[in-house]
């Protein structure tokens, strides 16, 4: 290895780091102030690149290029301002997860719009002559453009540091993030401040995109790749910390460069491995501090009305049994397509309800549920195709194996909370994805497992249950999911569930009740993992073929969508959300190419109009009526209070 090679590689790593830093510094700034993990940040990056592309079509020469590079971020800032004032501002009082979802919906929308405006193909942006040359440094040939980028990024870092830590506005910005109401009462104009910060963060993303455009290509969806990388950067560095973003960028930039040379196969897995390693050793990232606890009055108190607490209310049994009865009768009048669709919904519901035991009941946002779903599915797939297991034993093992995996992952994850928890589960999930994806010998790699044979389930000599038909599968899945959901409902309404809720509300206080909170969180993580694994096992049985896609993080996002559509603080919400999501998904894909756009718009509308989800909305608006109709019954604990 000689010096020239080293120079070239170091500079290429630094260039990578510079791009990452431009994006992630904006991301971390927005998180630090607005408490929003902005999923749309990657889309803003993409827009920056597209704007440069569009501008350079008309403006030529070095001057035109320069103007384009400077104007593009401003264009992005304009769009960001519209997003902030028109959409985000309405939901600051909601839980963080709604903001996450809103920005995710924006990703879907912006990506599809970009496809419509700029076309689906890859675009490359020509550099002007002046910048496309290269210089020789320590014997290596280095493009001028790389040098430009490598110099520019630290300059931006310095500027940011100055603005944030040395100006009064910077202090105000940092103050505001921890207690918005008090900042307001002290005369700080927060709306203006938030818009400013969001737009400023967007400028950084846009600048990143504008600078990266000429060296990378740009295409719809490029933002998604970038955003996940930036998440890793800011989480490793410490959320909300500028230096963290810098160090994280350099780490990831170098790792990617080394990874491409040394282990080209495992480049992505390496990054997640690093993230897991860092978070296991330093749970809040290299420079991070534990997340601040939001002031009480900042929490969305309206949510209260959406949660029908199982301690205070009982649901009339008919409300529970009627849908079940209806579902039992469906095959009498609905065709195979509908039965299949419903079976999909059952599986999705189980996954979503199990997920919501974590999110809604315990307050843990897991972004790696697809891993347990996948482990369950692969357990069934492998046991049936390779080990010659019977259908039932394989299915029974799927939650067991998933629980075991959840036990290991949970051991590390429950030491964290909030976004950090979400990110660590995401990293573990992606690691499992990478393993399954690459391990051809065992899992079939990206081919997955095809042709899973579902043998009839024997009944000790009294015949057998043949799951060959859609209808038989329908009933089988209905029964398994029905029993599991009943079990989950019990858990939520039990003293254990009440304790989980206490942990959600105030974990420190809960530990002063004598509750070992980490143990409880771990337990519920394992339970949720087990049921998710069972859902995966059922999925393998009904689809008869599986592929690693079911472990990808985008699958983990599904239960999040479903839960939010239906209502976080409700038991039935996730199931209702599953109905909406599965139906939307299967019809939209058939109906329009722009399904992402439509899905994005639907999510956006739901988040803005029904912030408590469909069921939450019903609970809030119709609680009185529900009581009168005897659908819900209030439990009279106190004679003195109820009389």
């Amino acid at each position: 290895m000689d010096l020239s090679f080293l120079t070239v590689q170091v500079l290429s790593a630094l260039r990578q780091a510079a791009f990452l830093f431009l994006i992630s510094s904006g991301l971390t700034l927005i998180f630090g102030v607005l408490n929003i993990l902005n999923f749309a940040h990657g889309a803003l990056y993409m827009l920056g690149a597209y704007f440069v592309y569009a501008l350079t079509l008309h403006l030529t020469g070095p001057a035109g290029f320069l103007i384009a590079i400077l104007a593009a971020p401003l264009g992005v800032a304009l769009i960001a301002t519209v997003i902030e004032t028109g959409l985000l501002r309405r939901i600051y009082m909601q839980e963080e997860i709604y903001q996450l979802l809103l920005t995710y919906a924006l990703v879907l929308i912006i990506d599809d719009l970009a496809k419509i405006v700029f076309g689906p193909e890859f675009k490359s942006i020509p550099k002007p002559e002046m910048l496309s040359g290269s210089v020789t440094l320590f014997g290596g040939t280095v493009p001028v453009y790389t040098l430009l980028v490598v110099v520019l990024a630290p300059a931006v870092a310095l500027l940011l540091w100055y603005l944030l830590y040395k100006t009064k506005t910077g202090k105000v910005v940092r103050a505001t993030s921890s207690d918005r109401e008090m900042a307001d009462a002290l005369g700080i104009n927060m709306s203006a401040l938030f818009t400013l910060v969001f737009a400023f963060g967007a400028v950084l993303a846009g600048l990143g995109g504008a600078l990266a455009g000429p060296v990378r290509t740009v295409f719809p969806g490029v933002g998604t790749e970038v955003i996940i990388e930036s998440f890793v950067v800011v989480v490793i560095g410490g959320l909300g910390n500028l230096w963290g973003a810098l160090v994280g960028s350099i780490l990831i930039g170098s790792l990617e460069t080394i990874g491409i040379i040394v282990f080209p196969e495992f480049e992505m897995a390496l990054i997640y491995l690093l993230m897991v390693a860092v978070l296991v050793v330093r749970p809040w990232g290299l420079f991070g501090r534990p997340l601040k606890i939001k002031a009480l009055s900042e929490k969305n108190l309206a949510m209260e009305a959406q949660e029908i607490s199982p301690v205070h209310f009982t649901v009339h049994p008919a409300v529970r049994w009627a849908p079940l009865l209806l579902l039992l009768l469906v095959p009498l009048f609905a065709g195979r397509f509908y039965q299949y669709l419903l079976t999909q919904i059952f599986v999705a519901s189980l996954m979503a309800i199990a997920f919501n035991l974590l999110l809604g009941t315990t307050g843990l946002l897991s972004f790696g549920q697809a891993a347990f779903f996948g482990v369950g599915a692969y357990t069934v797939g492998l046991l049936l195709t390779k080990a010659g297991f019977g259908t039932l034993p394989a299915l029974v093992l799927s939650p067991v194996v998933a629980a075991a995996v959840a036990g290991i992952i949970g051991f590390f994850c429950v030491r964290l909370s909030g976004v950090h928890f979400a990110m660590l589960t995401l990293a573990f999930g992606q690691l499992i994805f990478a393993v399954v994806f690459k391990w051809y010998g065992f899992t079939g790699g990206d081919n997955g497992i095809q042709g899973i044979r579902v043998n009839p389930i024997p009944f000790g000599g009294m015949g057998a249950l043949d799951l060959g038909s859609t209808q038989a599968m329908y009933y089988f899945v209905l029964v398994v999911v029905g029993l599991s959901v009943e079990l989950l409902r019990r858990i939520r309404s039990s003293p254990f569930g009440a304790t989980l809720k206490a942990i959600r509300e105030n974990s420190q206080r809960a530990s002063f009740l004598g509750v070992n909170i980490k143990l409880y969180q771990w337990t519920v993580f394992v339970v949720a993992g087990a049921f998710t694994g069972l859902a995966g096992g059922l999925y393998a049985l009904m689809e008869k073929s599986i592929s690693p896609e079911i472990i990808h993080w985008s699958k983990s996002a599904e239960p999040v969508f479903m839960t939010i559509i239906g209502g976080i603080y409700t038991f039935a919400g996730p199931a209702v959300g599953a109905v909406v999501y599965v139906i939307l998904n299967s019809y939209l894909v058939a109906w329009t190419e722009k399904w992402a756009l439509v899905l994005g718009l639907v999510l956006l509308t739901l988040v803005l109009l029904l912030p408590g989800g469909v069921v939450g909305y019903v609970n809030e608006k119709a609680r009185q009526t529900l009581g009168k109709l005897r659908c819900i019954h209030k439990w009279p604990f106190s004679k003195s209070a109820t009389s």
Partner: protein
């Protein structure tokens, strides 16, 4: 017999010596006040005794057992309850649930995942009884987050009582309560202490209350114990007066 022995606790935050060699011994059934200027180290002492902070050195022995180094939930299980100076409740749970969940933990039911929480009628009645004691029964189904500040303080005490501790540590229990409520709270605490032999350690800046109910008073200043004795001794101690009470107290 001393139920709690605190020996030579030292705790620093960076350069600040928040506790310097604090030693304290509390008899069973005693009502003990810990007073001192703001920032004297009272809350820090409570945090050390309940496992929220690890001391730099020193020992805490409760009921004959060394509890330093144990996590809070284990210390609580040994029979220590506490309340917090800055309200620390479960905001989006009803007043009832706040106390009920504490009772589940006390009765060892928290791990029960299969029975319905509301079917534990005895625990339900016990919850209401505790709420009646602190005067919150009428608000049992209100969300704790929307209680007024003083009501939240009362809920805080109700939660601490629900773990049925042998030793209760209250950090400014009546701060923020109106005179009605603080009078009732004080007599409730006295009654429980008398009837159930509960040992009580509390801090308070309201001298009327401190001198009315405590049997012994310890005074901290800048992390050091400057006096420890009966209310009469403390009142007469010139150093305490200068550091903490000011001159006004002479009349009352």
């Amino acid at each position: 017999m001393a139920i709690l022995e605190v020996r030579n606790i030292v705790k620093s935050f960076g350069g600040l010596r928040a506790l310097q060699d604090v030693t304290l011994s509390v008899e069973k059934g005693e009502i003990r006040a810990v007073i001192g200027p703001n920032g004297a180290g009272k809350s820090t002492l409570f945090n050390v005794m309940t496992g929220l902070l690890a001391p730099d050195s020193g020992n805490v022995v409760f009921d004959g057992e060394q509890i330093i180094g144990m996590p809070p939930h284990r210390i609580i299980r040994k029979g220590i309850g506490r309340s917090f100076q800055i309200t620390n409740i479960f905001p989006r749970m009803s007043v009832f649930e706040n106390v009920q969940v504490a009772l589940f933990s006390h009765h060892g039911k928290s791990r029960n995942p299969l029975h319905l929480a509301r079917k534990f009628t005895e625990i339900g009645e016990e919850t209401i009884a505790i709420l009646e004691q602190v005067g919150l029964a009428g608000k049992y189904d209100m969300s704790a987050s929307i209680l007024s500040h003083g009501d939240q303080k009362r809920l805080e005490i109700a939660i601490s009582l629900a773990s049925r501790p042998k030793l209760l540590m209250l950090d400014e229990p009546t701060a923020g309560m109106s005179r009605f409520e603080s009078r009732e709270t004080v007599s409730l605490l006295q009654r429980i202490s008398r009837e159930q032999g509960l040992t009580l350690i509390f801090t308070e800046h309201d001298m009327d209350i401190v001198f009315a109910i405590s049997e012994k008073i310890m005074v901290l200043q800048q992390g050091a114990v400057i006096a420890d004795g009966t209310p009469a001794e403390i009142k007469a101690n010139p150093e305490v007066r200068k550091a903490y009470l000011g001159e006004e107290i002479t009349e009352s």
